[in-house]
Structures are given as C-alpha cells and as structure tokens.
Symmetry: C2
Subunit: 591 residues, 2 copies
Amino acid sequence: MLTRVRAYLSAEKADAIIVPSNDPHFGEYVQEHYCTRALLSGFDGSAGTLVITLSEAALWTDSRYFIQAGTQLQGTGIELMKMGVEGVPDIASWLNDRIDNGGTILLDGTLFSAAEYASYCNKLKARVMGIADPFDDILPERTPLYFRPVILQKESYAGLSVAAKRKLVFSEDPTDIKICRILVRCDDIMWLCNIRGSDIDYNPVALSYALVFRDRILLFANGESFEEAALDYLSSQQVEILAYSSFYDVCEEMAGDDSIHFLSPATSTSMRLESIFAKAKHFSYEPRAEGEVAYRKSIKNQVELEGFRKANLLDGIAWCRILKYIEDNISGGTLNEYSIARQLIAYRSTSPYYRGESFEPIVALNANAASAHYSATSDEEAAVVTAQGFLLIDTGAHYPFGTTDTTRTIPLSELTPTQIADYTAVLKGMIELSMASFVKGTTGYQLDIIARQPLLSRGRLFFHGTGHGIGHYLCVHEGPQSVRMDRDSGVALLPGMVLSNEPALYLEGEYGIRTENVLVVEPFTENEFGTFYRFDTLTLVPIETSCIDREQLGDECVRWLNDYHDNLYKKIAPHLNDEEAKWLKNKCRPI
Amino acid sequence: MLTRVRAYLSAEKADAIIVPSNDPHFGEYVQEHYCTRALLSGFDGSAGTLVITLSEAALWTDSRYFIQAGTQLQGTGIELMKMGVEGVPDIASWLNDRIDNGGTILLDGTLFSAAEYASYCNKLKARVMGIADPFDDILPERTPLYFRPVILQKESYAGLSVAAKRKLVFSEDPTDIKICRILVRCDDIMWLCNIRGSDIDYNPVALSYALVFRDRILLFANGESFEEAALDYLSSQQVEILAYSSFYDVCEEMAGDDSIHFLSPATSTSMRLESIFAKAKHFSYEPRAEGEVAYRKSIKNQVELEGFRKANLLDGIAWCRILKYIEDNISGGTLNEYSIARQLIAYRSTSPYYRGESFEPIVALNANAASAHYSATSDEEAAVVTAQGFLLIDTGAHYPFGTTDTTRTIPLSELTPTQIADYTAVLKGMIELSMASFVKGTTGYQLDIIARQPLLSRGRLFFHGTGHGIGHYLCVHEGPQSVRMDRDSGVALLPGMVLSNEPALYLEGEYGIRTENVLVVEPFTENEFGTFYRFDTLTLVPIETSCIDREQLGDECVRWLNDYHDNLYKKIAPHLNDEEAKWLKNKCRPI
C-alpha cells in the first residue's frame, strides 16, 4: 500500500504525506473508513500519526502504544517513533531533515485544525499543502463510509425542543446580525437536533455537519437513515437535511454571502474550513474555544439531570448484581476479566432502556490495572480472576435518559498495609472533591488538587485528569469543562455540569486503584461574599469499605461515605430481590 | 498647583497628563519625592491615578479608598472616579470623551510599563507622548529626592557573594553571547549586590538601578551614602558605582553596542527603557516575566533560611510578650490599638538585631479589622481595646538575617457559635495549606483552594491572595511566586521559596479574622511518580486555641496544631522568664 501512496505522491509532485488518526469530526472514536493510518501501517491503536515520504515512512505514537506499535509495525518498513523519549525527533524536525525548501508535503485539510496546520507551516521548511481526502482512489480496499439508523431523541428525554436550544445558543449574540454557527462535532449536532445515531462505536452519534442559524439549521447527514419520527420532528423544528457529502460545497457557496457572520469553534475548525471561510466577509472564532453549542450542551437541564439520576439507578442495580456475582463466584476459578465484563452487560441488558456501553469495559486484575486503557477482548487473553489482590472495573452504559461512567476497585484478598493506605488515599481524594464547595468562576484546574492531596501526601500521583464532562446519552468524554492539573480549560464550573471524579493510583507491575463517581454541579448559597456551588453525586454503586483505613480517611470523609451508602441503599434496595438486598445492606453498613 | 500644570500643558501644546502613584522602580512604597499624584490632588492613599486636562481633573482609585479620597478631594475641583463601580468610565474612555484624534496626552515614560503605555496608545484616540519627569520645574515645593545610608549585607547573612549570585543569575544563559540584564527594582539590586538601604519606608532598599553583566555590575546609586565597608566589598565584587541620575544616559549610550544582548523583565520595563533599547541590535524580555534576578532571589539559600528561622524566633519572643501583655492589661481599659502596636515595637526593640517594622503594623478591633489595611496612627484615632470580640494583629519586622510577617486574631471575650465556626474555618484553611504536599511544577494558583475550602464550605470567601513571597531582610511582599485564586503567576513553587499563608474572613461592620504563618517550601520525596515538595512553617507565635471548634477543625489539623505548639514552646520558652514561660506553656497545651 505504501508503494501506491508513493506513486500518488510522485504523480502529485509531492514529497510526503502526513496521515493522522482522527476524522473530520474531531471526535474520540473514528469510523473504520477514516482509519487510513491503521490501514496503511497495520498499527491500530487509537493514537498515532503516520508520515510517508518517497523512500521512508515513520509512525509517531505515545508511551501507551510503544509495545503494540512495535509489534504491529514489524516488517512494514515503517519506523516507530516513540514520542516523549529523549532523542526521538518530532514530525517536523524529522521531515526537515529529509525535505527542503523546494519540497511539498501533503495533508488532508479536513483532518487538521487550522492551528495544527499553521504550526506545521511555521515549522516545516517545505511547502505544506492541504488536500481533499485522497485515499478513495489509492486504497480501494478501504471500508466504505456507512450510515446507520438515526432516531429521534424525544423531548421528554432532552428537556428542550430544538427551537428552544437554538434560542439558548444565540441568547448572548447581538440580534441585529445574521449569525451562522459552523458545527463539525457530531455530538454537538446530536444534542442540538435532538437525534441520536450509531455510526461510531460507543458514541451514539450520526456522522453529520451542521450550519446553524437563529431560525433554522442546515443538517448535513444521510437523510435515508433517519426514522420517520425524526424526519417529522426535524422538519417541525426548522431543520433541513442536506447530503452529508455536500457540506463543504455548501460552505463554499455560503461563504460568498456578505450578510452572514460565520462563527466556528477554534478547537474544531479544520484547515479546510478555515480556508473556505477566509474568503467570507465576516468570519471569526467562537468566543468560547469549544463553541457555544458545546458550552450550552455541557449545562444539563432539569429533565436531563433527572434522566442521569434514573440512568445511574438502573446502572447501580446492574453494578450491585455484578459485584455480588464476583463475590459469589470468586473462589470457583471460573471468572476472568472478559467474562465479568460480559456478565455486567448481561445484567444491564435486563433493562429495556439499556442502549449499550458508553466505552469499552475495563476489567483489570492487579498489574493489568496498572496499564492505562487495558481491556481484555476475549476469554483467551483475559486473566483468570482469583482471590488475590485488586480487581479494577471501569465501565459505563448509555440509556436514552443519560450516560454513566463508574469505576470500582475490589479487594479480592487480605491486603497489605500499603495497599490499604493506597486504596484509602484514592478514596479520600474522591470524597474530598465530592465535598468541595467553590465560588462562581472557579475552574476544574483550581479544584483538581483537592482530589490529589491525599495521594500527594504519600508522595504518589496519577497522571490522567481527575474529571471529564459526560454527555447526556452522548459521548462519555465531553467538553468543555474538566478537572485536570496539566491544563486549564478556562471553563468555570456551573450548575448543571456533569463531571467524573476519578482519582487513581497505578503501580507498574503491581496494581491499579481507581474509584470513580459522577458529580453534578449544583447551587449551594448566595450571599454578600458571592455565589457558591457544590457537587451532588449521581453514581449509586457501593464502594468497598473492607479495605479502608478509617483513621486515614478521617471523620468528615467517613461521614460522607456512610451517608452515601445510606442513600444508595434506600434507592437501590427496592429494585433487588431479598438475597441481593441483604447483600447490599451489608455492603452499605456504616463504618 | 493644577493651574501650573495646565500652564505647562499649554506651553507643551498638550491636552492632558496622566499622573500615576508609582516611582520608576515599580516598588510597593514610594519616596515622597515621587508622590506627585498625592501632592497635586491632596489624596495620599497608596493607589490612585490622576488625570489633568486643560479644564478638568479626575482621580481614579479603588474601593479601599473611596471614603478617604472623597474627603481629601473635596474642594480641589478633582472629580473622584470610583473604579469598579457600574457606570464609572475608565481613564481611556473618559479621556476619549474629551480629547480627540488631534490631541496629545502626556505621561512620564519612566512610570508606565511598556505594556501599559501600549495599552493607552491602543485605547486612546489622542497621541500619547512619553516625557521625562516634568514636575521639578512645575512643583518647586516637591520634596527633593534623598539618599540615606547604604550598608553592606554581610555574606554571613546573605549566604552568597555577589560574584556567586552573578554566576547563579547567568547559569541558564548561553555562554557565547554578552548579556546585560537591566534592573530597576531596588530589592533585586539590593539582593544581588549584598547591600541594604533606607530610602523607602519599610523596604530596606536604596534607590538604584543596575546593568548586570556576567563579569561585572554597573550600579547606579548615590555612592556618597554608602558605608566604607560596602564600597570596599562592592569594588572587590566587580560592582562599579555610577551616579543614580546617569542611568538613562548610560543606557542610551550602551544601547548602541551591537555586541550586547539586553534582557529586561517584562513587568518592570518602563516605556522609556523600552524606547531606549528598541534601538539596540539585541533586546528582549527576560524569559521569566519578573526576571532572572527576582526568580533567583525568591529561592532562599540555606544561610538565608537559617536567618529566617532566627528572625522568627526573635519575633516569636516579642509576640509572646505582646500577647501576654494584652491579656494582662485587657481589663484595665488602658489599651488601644495604637498603644499595642507601639508596645510590640518596644518588645522587638529589646533585640539588638531589630531593624524596624516590615510594614505598617495593623492592630484592629472588631469592625476595624473588617476594613482592608486599617491602621491606627495615633492614640486619638485608635479604638480602646476592651474585653469584647476579636482583636486582629498583623505585623512583621526586619532583622538583618530575615523578615517576618505574622497575623493573629485574639478573642477578647466569649464568642458566639458563628464566631467560633468562622475562626475555626480560617485556622483550618491555614493548617490545611501548611500540611499540603505537591509535585514539582505546581503553582500557588493550584494550591490556593486548599486554604479556602473550609471557608467555602461555609459559603464564605476572602478576596485577597492567600500568600505572597517574603524577602530576606527585604520587601515583605516579594514576587514572583504567590498563592492566589484571581491570577496564576505561572511560577512553580520550589524548595527555598518563602511564602505567607494567610486565609481570612471579613464581615463588614462586625469583625475580621486572619491567621497568618510563614512557610518555606522544602523537598519531600522523589520517586517513580516524580519530585514532591511540602511546606515547613517558620513562624513561632502561639495560635489562640480557646475559640476552636475541635470537631470542625478535624483530627489531622488538631494534630498539626498540637505539634506546632509543642515545637514552638520548646524553641521559645528558653528565652522567656519563668512567668512568661508558664504563660506560654498554658497557651501551647494540646487541645
């Protein structure tokens, strides 16, 4: 295949092409059609960038994938470039060593943000040329794009009509100018149009673009995949469906309309879109980096929040069953990581509302849990779960009224004092953040240290974020808010925002501990000092108390935990049979 | 005087002049000579900007000074502009309403940073012209500049020679280029040159500028004020003294030397300096915003840190005496806020090392403590201290080996449950921050919420920073590090940095509570997760325990407090007489 790419480069008089991992919608998951980097290189991890020159090829990926990429690239002639390892050049310097001023480097202009493109232009000696996707011709074996059914997300779940959402999205704009918001993120479009799709794994979205006006929406999608109810509803809400493939042409045409002020989120404006709208009389980035739609979407309304509570109730029931199932079967030697994941799905599936997993389930024993993003995908590769050490389970589900994301770490045997102290520190961080209060204007970056303090005081640290936003029957990772120490989103937390709370600890070769609940920001009080917010917890899954150091956890956190279990028991027990309820009663007893 | 300014403006064919509060050294305090805004307006608060046009004049100040400025401006014809109050225009829009494109607005180019100047140029319609200080001619009544004795700061206090400090300051620069660092901040210069002055209230600095090379320093100061030992030392350390007034001329001349790379801190480069060095072949801002010298100065060496401990020991002894003195005399009706401040100074003065207060002492009873920066300056205006409510004392002193800054809030009577809860919340915040651990790279902005959490959970907030850097026998407020919620200094905390820790609560018309210790960052541990730091406490002043809600404070904080008092007693008691030691023993008993 590389030979064909090189023939194409020669024909185009170009010297190299850069192939990234993402699709033009800048989402977390990508349909197979867009996995050209994987197709060309054989490396199918989620993150990696392939660069092909006329005589060489190299693939950049991060530490999570060094081993996998090393194996998969063997014999391909593609060199593995380990990002972050000392002495490994970045893409630009590697290219600059090979291609000079006179050269030309190609990239698909829809797959790079305008900022990434500008950065390449700055760094590379050669000319960087944005092109349209060239691979339909070069790679006939490529999986064709597919469009699966699109359904209506009823207002009884969504809480607001499309017309009301349009109004919300434009509520801060001057009324005397004609504004058009450009959307390429599928989840923004699903939320705004009250529809859901199934074109992408785990993310219930349809491949789509949209141009959003105050009084109507142009939705670029595959109209044939829409159920009748969705079509009727959209037409009643001034949403016009145009062909998915016509998006860029319509943009080109519309950019000539001098009366329109175009707005696009800085983080999802591709080089191609920017070059189209550079010609428009009025074009600028959205004042909020991820755009007004993403921002409004992140502030859940009361109906959505009630839905989240219902989703967490249903999910809590399934979680109780899987936790009991593990306890009941642990000594039999029949459990493995993959079978546990399947069993949890089976429990969830007993609810007619279950709409699938919100991400690939993680069930990881001891050292497996210390590797980021470990998932066993078959019984063969899964570790057999025996009564030894820690088992980490991180899974979530979609329900039409909400999405869940929960992690529990279960002790399978007597633990060492260090293990108990680590488990307690992770839990204490989770609880401290759950109890936090803050003043209007506070960002997750400012709150992050609260969740880390108990670990930091033991000289320990986890390197991922503490919290991410969660979509409403949408993507389990949703912006723009977050709780992180490595970068400040600049997004102040507001009532209605839903966030995960997942401190963790990973000891390589030994074990991983993570305890994750989902929080919602709610009003606390308002007085002469300001407007204050706090969190409420949505998750209803028992937390293992047998391995807590009570003194280390501290009275305040103990009180929180006992209250949490008391509330959980009252909500979940009525949905369990007697034996299950008795089991839960024991799990929820105060410490 | 305004008439004379207007005559000057007419003669210069200008329409207005902007007169700020600061001097060309951008320090916190200003010698009277530079207080032209106060002289012209009659308003002598620390912050305010006066604008004089040919027919009008207005003064902008912040809420701390609304009342004082209102009184002092009466009858001057100068309008008070209350900053932050809705409907009050900022300086630029006020000027734009009065002076058009053709106009000219003057400002002293040494008193505005290049960034402030650029901002005025952007916002103002009129031309903005930087001029030299015009007030020597206009205001003959102006206090002349004075230069008081400059003494050597012995290496036994400073810990490093000037040569060693030069080496440190240039340690990250390429060795093959000739670098000249431009310094206008007097405390940077004092630190670098191992000297101290007394030209400014509370800040033991001499008015000075410096041009710093790898192998020598040009020090612009009044050489005649230097003691012999200082002159000898400086000459041995390749420091050449030039006239204070020749600084800008020497800069002009030196800017023509194409072999020199000039570096200046962005935060203290005046418009005038920038315009001089704009002509230089190589000029840029220091990579660190406050400059390399300020950064190196902030990381105290072991000798400086030992000095801080000694300073806090001496100050702790004086504090114990004043606290006992208040207890002993409270019922007599003879104490007032001012007399307590004087008495503390008297106790401090018994040490031969005492070198004066590090800022104007704050002794404030009940509602007085709820006003920011309240200081009684005579017996007449001071409130009589009786056994009722809270007394807040915030003072610090200079010793040749270190500077202190301590706040204690003392209950003078039985308190209400709310007062106890507020006191406990403030103290808990102070202790939580004292106990914090963090990973290398963490800034004060990220830690700030730890100190605020106990107050936030009560829906309360203080609006100043939680912590500021503290100079070593230098300015009590020293950058570049800080612990704040309103802006991120971007400066990661490093071992050796000294910071105040002063959560507070102000209830207007009722009381103010603040508890302040001084912390030093120290190494904690280093392992596979990273390099960790924590704080050690330098302050040795008992904290009132009679008004603590023990349960609210929590076991961990109680343990910290008991350890703090135990350590304090062991260190201070040997320096007290029997009666004092007995008193301290009682103050330090575990709760």
